[in-house]
């Protein structure tokens, strides 16, 4: 069963066409990397798929009632907003909101989901720290933990690893891979093509408002696609340590 089905999705804002006739299906057990240059429409595609902005076409998530959708897909926006100096545990517990009835306190199951998410993001020791006093990368990890605590079959994350140190970038991508092994899926927008090549089961390349390539990393990161949509050259090699991708030069 697919976790997300988008068909012929188009977004026009202020008379400018941002996405045209995008169709995309995400099945269980996938880590899908959404790549493309700045302004290619990655964020717009994810927000439209969730129904957070208006669009033409169909999206299975946008068709759902708000509370049903919140149990189906979790969303990590790119802007790391933390309005109040609450503690880490409180932020992560917010992820359980879709599972609570009106006025209901978090149950033991909710607490367990929060504990697991904190542990996965290496935040056990920080759970009582005030989020507004954490570093940018630490805040990003707290917000990823909040998204994981929501316990949804699909996680959609907009540049989740931007600003993380290398160790946490890798461990975060591995968490998404681990979710895929449990039959869940992740749609993750990324600029680090090296991590995308190593950790995603599939890449979707956006360019000029369309999906221009969709498939396994080695076919999407072809010399031709890199030249046309990123204007770079790169070295891509399959090694005993797994696939290694390194961007090299900017093309004039």
């Amino acid at each position: 069963m697919s976790l997300l089905a988008i068909s012929d999705l188009s977004v026009t804002r202020r008379g400018r066409s941002i996405l045209r006739d995008v169709s995309l299906t995400i099945d269980a057990g996938e880590v899908v990397g959404l790549i493309g240059g700045n302004g290619a429409g990655k964020t717009t595609l994810m927000r439209a798929a969730l129904g957070l902005i208006g669009f033409d076409g169909r999206s299975s998530l946008a068709d759902m009632p708000l509370r049903v959708r919140a149990k189906q897909a979790a969303w990590l926006p790119q802007a790391r907003e933390l309005a109040w100096p609450v503690d880490v545990q409180t932020v992560v517990t917010l992820g359980r909101i879709p599972h609570l009835a009106a006025g209901q306190r978090p149950t033991q199951a909710d607490q367990a989901a929060v504990d697991t998410a904190l542990h996965e993001m290496g935040l056990d020791a920080m759970r009582h720290r005030t989020v507004t006093r954490l570093s940018g990368g630490e805040q990003a990890r707290v917000l990823i933990a909040r998204t994981l605590a929501q316990g949804t079959p699909l996680v959609m994350a907009d540049e989740p690893i931007a600003g993380l140190d290398p160790g946490h970038q890798i461990s975060t991508m591995k968490i998404f891979a681990g979710m895929a092994k449990q039959g869940k899926s992740a749609l993750v927008s990324l600029h680090d093509l090296g991590l995308a090549a190593r950790h995603c089961t599939r890449l979707v390349l956006l360019g000029e408002g369309r999906i221009v390539a969709d498939g396994p990393p080695q076919s999407v990161l072809s010399t031709d696609n890199l030249r046309r949509h990123f204007a770079i050259t790169a070295h891509f090699e399959h090694t005993p340590h797994g696939p290694i991708f390194q961007p090299l030069e900017v093309l004039e």
Binding site: R69, L76, P77, A83, V86, L94
Partner: protein, 327 residues
């Protein structure tokens, strides 16, 4: 959290009893309470039931309303400087009251002034909702509030400007300063239904405000209907602030300062700040109204003047604390 609740409730109870026992009529505390509870048919019973009880009740109701709506407004706008007056309801309610005084409606029958103020509040909130629209960012709501506030303030000034009657102008100025003196149970009965409606609406926004900590996008993706949340916050605030202004005039700073003071004690959680600010606001207004009666008993010091005089320096202190923390 439970300790904070107990402390605040105890504070409200103690101040409420103190407010009942203080007044120009020098009475025995125990006899006064007995007279109130048994509704004794004596002068003392009359003083307690007709003068002191409504005054103390209104202090609790209005204080709780201002604290609660202040916390809700700050939570919704994600701005610690937001104030329940921001959406223009208190200014438009004041305009309604001023028109009632000017046209003689207030003198014609007892409830002329508060009813006219409620009508003003209703027009104000409808205008804000029409201007800001049901959706859209919090910024449009702030801008709409500024438009309605300034328009209402300008029209109030116009009424004063054109007033041919210096006594009416005098009355308007004094009324606008806000006071709980000489209010009756009729005022309590008039304000209570609107306030209860507002309390229920604002009491239901806690979870939405918690989710908004992460921004509008994340909150909506967590299943929060932002349109409903916005309507609940705006209509709830309008109901409690409109009713407060209608019976007591403009009382500033309580809705701004109380959530500010209590935020560190509830771990900054917007939902926990709602009930604690309601209790804190009730305590603060009771304390302010007691102070008004103690400081200058013969001069009729206005409550709104006192809250502003106390509130401004208190706020300066908070700013100082925030600045020290950010260095």
């Amino acid at each position: 959290m439970r300790r904070l609740a107990l402390i605040l409730i105890a504070l409200v109870v103690v101040l409420f009893v103190a407010a009942l026992l203080l007044g120009p009529a020098d009475t025995d505390p125990w006899q006064s309470l007995v007279a109130l509870i048994t509704r004794e048919e004596s002068l003392l019973g009359l003083v307690m039931y007709e003068i002191r009880l409504p005054r103390a009740l209104l202090a609790v109701m209005i204080g709780a309303s201002l604290g609660l709506s202040g916390a809700a407004m700050q939570g919704y706008l994600r701005n610690p400087l937001a104030d329940p007056g921001l959406i223009g309801v208190s200014a438009s309610a004041a305009l309604g009251a001023v028109l009632a005084i000017q046209t003689g409606l207030a003198a014609a029958f007892a409830l002329g002034l508060p009813l006219s103020a409620l009508a003003g509040a209703l027009v104000g909130v409808l205008l804000v909702l029409a201007l800001a629209g049901p959706r859209g960012s919090s910024l449009t709501l702030i801008l709409a509030g500024i438009v309605v506030s300034s328009l209402a303030a300008a029209l109030t000034s116009l009424v004063l400007n054109l007033s041919p009657n210096p006594f009416a102008a005098n009355e308007i100025v004094f009324w606008m300063m806000g006071s709980l003196a000489d209010r009756s149970m009729v005022h309590v009965g008039l304000a209570l239904p609107f306030m209860v409606m507002g309390w229920l609406l604002l009491g239901g926004v806690g979870r939405g405000l918690d989710a908004l900590t992460l921004g509008e996008d994340a909150a909506e993706a967590m299943g929060i209907n932002l349109m409903v949340l916005r309507l609940m916050v705006v209509i709830g605030t309008a109901a409690v602030v409109g009713a407060s202004t209608a019976v007591a005039g403009v009382i500033g700073f309580v809705g701004l300062v109380v959530p500010h003071i209590l935020r560190p004690f509830v771990g900054a959680r917007p939902s926990a700040l709602l009930w604690s600010s309601a209790l804190g606001g009730a305590a603060m207004l009771l304390a302010a109204d007691i102070t008004v009666r103690l400081v200058l008993p013969s001069k009729d010091l206005k409550l709104g003047v006192l809250t502003a005089i106390i509130g401004a320096p208190l706020f300066l202190h908070l700013i100082h604390k925030v600045r020290k923390m950010s260095v």
